[in-house]
Symmetry: C2
Subunit: 405 residues, 2 copies
Amino acid sequence: MALVVQKYGGTSVGDTERIANVARRVATYHARGDKVVVVVSAMSGQTDSLIKLAHQITNRPDEREMDVLMSTGEQVTIALLSITLRHMGIPAVSFTGAQIKVVTDSSHMKARISDVETTRVMKALDEGKVVVVAGFQGVTAEGDITTLGRGGSDTSAVAVAAALKADVCEIYTDVDGVYTTDPNLCDKARKLKKISYDEMLELASVGAKVLQIRSVEFAKKYKVPVLVRSSFNYNEGTWVVEEDNSMEQVIVAGIAYDRNESKVSVKGVPDRPGIAARVFGALAEENIVVDVIVQDIGEGGKASITFTVPKTDLPKALDVIKPCAKELGAEEVASDTNIAKVSVVGVGMRSHAGVASKMFNALAAEGVNILMIATSEIKVSCVIEAKYTELAVRVLHDAFGLDKE
Amino acid sequence: MALVVQKYGGTSVGDTERIANVARRVATYHARGDKVVVVVSAMSGQTDSLIKLAHQITNRPDEREMDVLMSTGEQVTIALLSITLRHMGIPAVSFTGAQIKVVTDSSHMKARISDVETTRVMKALDEGKVVVVAGFQGVTAEGDITTLGRGGSDTSAVAVAAALKADVCEIYTDVDGVYTTDPNLCDKARKLKKISYDEMLELASVGAKVLQIRSVEFAKKYKVPVLVRSSFNYNEGTWVVEEDNSMEQVIVAGIAYDRNESKVSVKGVPDRPGIAARVFGALAEENIVVDVIVQDIGEGGKASITFTVPKTDLPKALDVIKPCAKELGAEEVASDTNIAKVSVVGVGMRSHAGVASKMFNALAAEGVNILMIATSEIKVSCVIEAKYTELAVRVLHDAFGLDKE
């Protein structure tokens, strides 16, 4: 008997038949005496069609009202799932984010959870009911409806699990776990049995889209054991948990890649203090997130700064950078969208030297030129030409022996 | 400068273009300094498609969860209308029934409003905002979502108007007022300038579907002046208000008809006390609403009871009545669905004799046989053969001079 929080994403509840599948899975847990809280997303496609409706009116709809609109998506799902469960004879009760008081700040469309009340949920669980909760949504202290941003249902589930001190938070998705790399690129990719929160954060932020980053941060902070698995089969899945000794034996846990970045270079800047601050200050003002940054001193004492920004932000970034470069006396601003970032990730590399050099050697052996390098405690990333992405991922997967357990 | 509550039905907010029309009308009121509260229904078709979704699961979905499901309909509309108003530069804020605490009992799918809190709405109005409220929905004292039943948005609007002590509650619909009779049946039908609550109740309950009955009862109880008008033009509409002297001058205000009833006769019952109680008690237990009742003593001291029930309830009514008739020693149970009820309605008839006889004469002159008669203080109804409905309505409209003001 355990207290289990389960989260089902949009494709898992995409129609009433799939909702019935979810209900059957919930039923097996309920039958064996578990207390079950189910957190659901909007049915797939629902959120997009609500956004479309709003965009028929204006491209910049009021954010408070967008949250009122969008939150109806999950409300439909909680009702349909509860109806299905009750039809199967399982006592169930649904709650919106506001009803169980998933309290957030008032940053509409990207609110952050500050608190989750548990009284109402615990009471229903104690009465033997399955509790069905709308993910993705919360409520401000003033009673306004908020949403958490794309993928926010993961965070809802982990936050509810943390508040209830659940034994596990199961995240059901359309893949059956976290892999050593993308199986679509590398057929030797292997499903991981477990992975640490920190590794998951690095893998997620560099392109493995299994879990919303904030949900992993939340899970790490409150030590919520997360199990990622598929809602379409009964395979084992991957545990996302606290780091343990066995993990440190594994030097590299996975290879991630990201093709959504572009590269900007400001070349030939007279080298004096404050240049980087000026450039990145201007970008920050426009809310452009900069990832890898490299600065070097070239010939004649002139500096060049190269960095990556999301492809979608490139036009805006250039608009900001060009006048700024002129003002700094730079010789040239160049940009390149044909790049990709590949990263090796693993908590084990903290205590093992040589991961970076092994990576560079493996890429060099295949003639893959490295454009930029960035490292963190548990990650080494290389920016390369986009056309080498698949090759680089496969080479690195082999080099670090990830196909073997 | 007035405090105006406006209610727009499903067809008036059927798509984003129509919502823009509503916003433009709201804007003119706001521009002239009125405080405006807008109560809206779900976009037309929305409620039906939500019901369809639930019925894919079961024909008897849990009612608490149905309310969670259905209430999303109006929530979409309030968001879209507020987005539109704000896009037009008009400060607007939306509230669900739960947010402004439209408190109801816990009879899901047919809840009754017990209270409406005004603090949040008044605050927003005082800040110069247009307040957009979801009709049709409320919340129990425990925080569960409820709905008020089909047409409930009218009642929401009147209840909000009553709580706010609004100067007027404007009900926008797809007809431009209340007519002396159905213009589709009688081309001499004339739009009424005003009508009393009681007359409206009788007209509504006998087939004129402009306003939900409960909303009129509410308006009468709290003396809320209601103006019924079209959202598709700027015509004057019809006031539904307290009775005044001028109304008593008009003997008959309108002619209503209803083709949704069927007739049941229990014939040849030994006449002894308690028969009617037995028959109607059995029907009441099954929640079957009985309308016109006639009892008479036929030959040989045997009684017969004839009454009408909604056509949709006829099979259930016969199931109840047949064993009951046997038990009472009745000779026969007969039923007839080819009937209609025509009614003349008017507060003036209280002080004028001869309305009933004028009605009977007019029908007789055209050879329309009267099957049953029922009267109230301000109404005379005749049950006739269905095929005479149009003829009867036209004849009575002429007989009472309703084409002239």
